[in-house]
Amino acid sequence: MQKRAYFGLYIVIAILALLPLVLPNSFYMDLAIRMAINAVIVLGLNLLIGFAGQISLGHAGFLGIGAYASAVLPTHFGWHPLLAMGAGAAATGLLAALVARPIFKLKGNYLAMATLGLGIILNIALRNEAQWTGGPDGMPVPAFGLFGFELNSDKHWYWVVAILLSVSVWASLNLIDSPFGRALRALHGSEVASRVVGVDVVRYKVAIFVLSAVFASLMGSITAHYVGFVTPNLADFFHSIELVTMVVIGGMASVYGSLVGAVLLTALPQALATFEGWETVVFGAILMICMIFLPKGLVPTLAAKFGKGE
């Protein structure tokens, strides 16, 4: 089990290392970077949704906090980007921890409502506080530099996100096989049963919620610096849904499923651009068809079909 799990990690690292050699131009480079960024967010979100069985329909809000911390703090207050990124992550963690206790008394659809509401409030705030955030039009983000070295080409960013992704996959695999991960899976299976065997259910839910929120915030900061511009769309309801869809289409409770989901759904809008005007219809239809015929997601369904569980 352990060995096979790491085998997948080696493949991921190999693909990430070789990819720049085969990518024909900067368009594909850009796509690969955005796929990797989404993959890290989705890994975190899958820990929450897939392993712990809790829904969040507001994760783009946390992404927005990170992105705007990296945009606003250096621009208006002259903070160092790294400090701004840390502050964004800390603020996100604090907010997530603050709301998590009351929110995780809720279940199922009530939980969906609460997280959805939180995300929408954050997004509306970003749109309205125009003197800081530039309002609906967004604002530019200063470049990211460290020790006099500035990250300014796609190549630089590619290696940054590739390393982040490899570390995240490694960390997720370890987390799942730790007592923490077993506790999460236990409370997904049955909350009452896990409480009976001594799992502090609320504490674990809060911890995983905060962790996945901080993941999202950090990647929000990275996105902001990489793109060089942020708009409130980064934090809107539809983006939250996109992230959840990546988790579910790839496969809940599957580390590699998260990667597949992120890759496919990041590429899909590009592929659909040829449908001029019909993108939304086709995108919606694909979501429905995937969920109807592969309710468990791609990777777990295929894994079951070929007789190798993950």
């Binding site: 409502m113 929408i120 705030a125 009452v192 019909w278 979501l287 309710p295």
Partner: protein
């Protein structure tokens, strides 16, 4: 002072009635299947857009309105048959994504067919405002409130006095037990989608002369209807109506007295506070988990 308060109250109750109809739609489907139908808002949009389209194509108003309710009902039934019935008992997230997929398809098709412009419908009985204690009330608001009141009474009669209504209630209490006594629960599911789509469309038609409509008008409407349904306690019909009116009034008061920029945030702040203290909404049933 009073005039201003009344003005906010009128506009709040009017839009609240639409939220109430949407919330009733959420409630009907939730009771029949435990599904939160994220496409509910699209039925509201579809009702308004189709009414505009049928009126423009020269149909007399009553015929246009009936068609604008029937077509969304058929769409609702199609969603149920094609997308919900095949995955019965799937996880909450899966069902949420399916209904969101459906809402994208409806919204996208509407944009392709009717364009992305904003449309309006003439008010049913003129635009002559009625003066009440210094506040003005549009005749269309009376239409919204009157029809909503009638719908609530009809639904009450349906659920308490007719066999089909009681079958739907029985299914919501206990699906297996309902099947055991011979209730066709698939029929109930079918009917609940038709009814909730029709209710949403009706709300959309009534409110279009006041708020205008466009292909993307359904998103916020649907989410606020969801807030209203959760506020009242998911699955509770009376709660849905009270929740809808409450959301509408508080939103309008908040926009008037506090900040109009944060108008859309008010329902969501409200629901977070309510859920913090009352995890099952105002009138939600207490549940105990069976182990």
């Amino acid at each position: 002072m009073l005039a201003q308060f009344l003005q906010f109250l009128f506009s709040g109750v009017t839009v609240g009635a639409t939220y109430a109809l949407a919330a009733l739609g959420f409630t009907l489907i939730y009771n029949a299947s435990n599904v939160i139908n994220f496409a509910q808002g699209e039925f509201i949009m579809l009702g308004g857009m189709l009414a505009v389209f049928f009126v423009q194509s020269g149909l007399p108003l009553p015929a246009a309105l009936v068609l604008a309710i029937l077509v969304p009902a058929v769409v609702g039934v199609l969603i149920e048959k094609l997308a919900i019935e095949p995955v019965k008992g799937a996880e909450t997230v899966t069902l949420i994504i399916i209904t969101i997929g459906a809402s994208l398809v409806i919204r996208g098709l509407t944009a392709v067919i009717f364009g992305k412009g904003t449309h309006s419908l003439p008010a049913f009985s003129g635009d002559e405002p009625i003066q009440i204690l210094g506040a003005t009330l549009m005749p269309q608001s009376l239409w919204v409130l009157g029809v909503t009141a009638i719908v609530v009474v009809v639904l009450w009669y349906f659920f308490n006095r007719t066999l089909s209504g009681k079958a739907m209630l029985a299914t919501s209490y206990n699906r297996v037990a309902a099947e055991l006594v011979g209730i066709n629960t698939n029929g109930v599911l079918f009917m609940s989608f038709a009814m909730s789509a029709a209710l949403g469309a009706l709300g959309g038609i009534l409110v279009t002369p006041i708020t205008l409509t466009s292909y993307d008008a359904g998103i916020m409407m649907g989410l606020k209807g969801f807030v209203a349904a959760v506020l009242g306690g998911l699955g509770n019909g009376l709660g849905a109506v009270v929740g809808g009116l409450l959301v509408g009034i508080l939103e309008s008061m908040g926009a008037g007295y506090l900040s109009s920029a944060y108008k859309d945030a008010i329902p969501f702040v409200l629901i977070l506070f309510i859920l913090f203290f009352m995890p099952r909404g105002l009138f939600g049933a207490r549940v105990t988990d069976r182990v």
